[in-house]
């Protein structure tokens, strides 16, 4: 699985991963994610086209949550959502209610089977709504009505929906819920405490993994940095191991 990045560079990369799985004859597929905004990037189109032409076993999951920061989908594209884009490239595509956990599970499960057995890409457009702000620096109430956000947060909440289904089947109760919440909270607090005590990454981490082996110019730069930190310890954080 490849993680999302701003430029959707992961889309062609997923095709590459799928291609390598195919060459290795593995019974597996690659899966990659992007948002509605991401479908405007060039790499989305390149990736889909390549996946189709190469018969790459890859699943493209597009979370269409209606917003790219402040840009609503009407200003992102004029097509009928993302599903038609997959079709345009000759990829089997399906649109799913992204807030329906069972529907999403079912779609992805089937997509995986198709991708692996038939060695072809599949696109899943999961429709949903971005309830939160884009990031910690965003205040989305500036560009959309609060009651709209509240509606999707409360009445159309996918987690609550799934929870009600699980409860109706007798597999979960309020008691289980409160127990789990308090135990998870304890675990989290503990994990935070452990993490806070953990050592900060050492100076050598700054230079490791740029290449497979440290080249001479980086060795020199590391040496210079060490000298500087040694000379001016008061100007550099003291809790970082050298």
């Amino acid at each position: 699985m490849l993680f999302g990045k701003k430029f959707r560079t992961q889309l062609p990369q997923a095709v590459g991963a799928a291609y390598s799985l195919k060459i290795d004859g593995k019974s597996a597929c690659a899966v990659t994610y992007c948002g509605d905004g991401g479908t405007s990037e060039g790499d989305f189109h390149a990736g889909l086209n390549f996946a189709a032409v190469m018969d790459a076993p890859v699943i493209f999951i597009c979370r269409n949550n209606g917003w790219a920061i402040s840009t609503p989908v009407e200003e992102q594209f004029r097509s009928d959502g993302v599903v038609v884009k997959g079709q345009a490239y000759g990829i089997w595509s399906i649109r799913v209610d992204g807030n329906d956990a069972l529907a999403v599970y079912s779609a992805v499960h089937t997509a995986r089977e198709i991708a692996i057995k038939e060695k072809r890409p599949v696109l899943i457009e999961a429709l949903t709504y971005r309830v939160g702000h884009h990031s910690t620096s965003d205040d989305s109430t500036k560009y959309r009505p609060i009651d709209e956000i509240e509606y999707w947060k409360m009445e159309r909440n996918p987690v609550n929906r799934f929870k009600r289904w699980v409860e109706r089947n007798g597999w979960w109760s309020d008691h289980n819920e409160s127990e789990l919440r308090s135990s998870v909270r304890k675990q989290l607090m503990q994990a935070i405490q452990v993490a806070e005590k953990a050592q900060k990454p050492p100076l050598s981490d700054l230079f490791n993994d740029v290449y497979d082996r440290l080249p001479s110019n980086l060795e020199e730069q590391e040496r210079i940095l060490r000298e500087i930190v040694k000379k001016h310890p008061e100007d550099y954080p003291s809790d970082v191991p050298l």
Binding site: K5, K6, F7, G37, G38, S40, E41, G42, A68, I69, S70, T71, E75, Q76, F77, H134, S135, T136, S137, D138, K142, Y143, K200, P201, L203, D205, L206, F207, V210, N217, L218, Q221, E222, L225, I228, V229, K231, H232, D235, Y236, P237, D239, V240
Partner: protein
């Protein structure tokens, strides 16, 4: 993109230093002046007669604001108005949009959202959705669109939400922006401004902490400038918009909240000039953008230790203002370059070569260049701090250089 906007709203450590000295001496550039009043009170720039192409352009007479030299008492010491750097950019942008209906803005979230760093706030309400255009997320496309619009008479300003994103538009910037004027035999001009924040912020991650001036500096046909104060941000923005050439204006993620008092009168700065921040005798320190502030911080320490550094904010990254730099080198004979670029292939590397070639005889010591290491910017805050040149390093370097 979750960590992209940590610069917004954050009070940078530098906003407290409104001890930014507005009384800077602007050295006249030999390239753009035909008449100069060297008493230093008013600079009048006239364009060369050769540039009088379009009859519609009436603004050949630019009068940058009077800048008081040190010791000169100004009759209106409290004149001007205070604002933050992003507001200065917006003011410059708005003034140009008011002046010329062909000026337009395009980019992601620049319209009703006002831009990720609020540089275009309020402009869409005033000038409409078409002149302040929200585009889909495709940098190569909207940069290309800007170039096409520029070729057919508009004067677009393309905003990259982060300079790093403009890597997707590199093809457009290099092959089209930079080259079309040449490859069309002068038939097409591309008066486009490409701007956005770059540089190392606070834990924005490797991909969002890039110094694109390194990568773009080789592209023929473009100009590059870097702003560092509200005063020069506004002046450079206006100059970039009025230029007939494509200009890339580099802003810095951490400098948007700098506060300064700028003149009420209209002023435009030169795109090819460096800025004398602090005259001195012992050593020439060349820097730009955020590093200017690290240098000035180091300068305080250096002055206390008895040194007299001359600090120049080069501002013009392509071309270099070798006149101002040369005058300084001839005076001090020692050069220290402080940059945020990486050691390999950065602005500092090019500047070192240029100075060595032109002023070798005037140097008493090899040029020292302090840069970031050749590593992707780490996410870990402590490591990230170590990739950026700190004032203590600058002090050490000057001490060593002046031995």
């Amino acid at each position: 993109m979750a960590t992209l906007f940590q610069g917004v709203g954050a009070v940078t450590p530098f906003s407290a230093s409104s001890s930014l000295d507005s009384n800077k001496l602007l050295l006249p550039s030999r390239k753009s002046l035909s008449i100069s009043d060297s008493r230093g009170s008013i600079f009048v720039y006239r364009s060369d007669a050769l540039n009088l192409k379009a009859a519609t352009r009436k603004q050949d007479l630019l009068i940058p604001n009077a800048v008081a030299t040190k010791g000169e008492t100004s009759t209106s010491a409290k004149s001007g108005h205070e604002l933050l750097l992003f507001e200065a950019l917006r003011e410059g942008l708005e003034e140009e949009m008011e002046r010329d209906p062909r000026v337009c803005v395009m980019g992601e979230d620049v319209g009703h959202y006002g831009g990720s760093y609020k540089v275009t706030k309020g402009l869409a309400e005033k000038y409409g959705d078409l002149r302040v255009l929200d585009t889909p997320i495709a940098e190569n496309s909207f940069t290309g669109m800007g170039i096409g619009a520029a070729m057919t008479g508009l004067r677009p300003i393309v905003e990259g939400m982060n300079m790093g994103f403009l890597l997707l538009a590199f093809n457009q910037i290099s092959n089209n922006c930079g080259m079309l004027h040449y490859t069309s035999g002068g038939q097409f001009t591309i008066p486009i401004v490409i701007r956005g924040p770059g540089g190392v912020g606070r834990q924005l991650g490797a991909e969002h902490s890039q110094r694109l001036e390194s990568y773009f500096q080789s592209i023929p046909g473009i100009q590059m400038v870097a702003c560092s104060t509200p005063y020069n941000a506004k002046g450079l923005m206006k100059a970039a918009i009025r230029s007939e050439n494509p200009v890339i204006l580099f802003e810095h993620v951490l400098l948007y909240n700098l506060k300064e008092r700028i003149p009420d009168e209209e002023y435009v700065l030169s795109l090819e000039e460096a800025e004398m921040v602090r005259p001195g005798e012992h050593v020439t320190i060349l820097t730009y953008s955020r590093m200017r502030y690290h240098v000035m911080q180091a300068a305080k320490t250096l002055v206390n230790k008895g040194y007299d550094p001359e600090v120049i904010d080069i501002r013009s990254l392509k071309p270099f203002d070798l006149y101002t730099i040369g005058c300084s080198v001839k005076k001090t004979h020692r050069v220290l370059i402080v940059e945020e670029c990486m050691r390999t292939g950065g602005i500092g590397a090019s500047l070192t070569a240029a100075i060595t070639e032109n002023f070798h005889d005037y140097l008493d010591a090899p040029i020292v260049c302090l840069s970031s290491q050749d590593v992707p910017t780490p996410y870990a805050g402590t490591l990230e701090e170590w990739t950026v040149v700190q004032p203590a390093q600058i002090v050490s370097a000057v001490e060593q250089l002046c031995q």
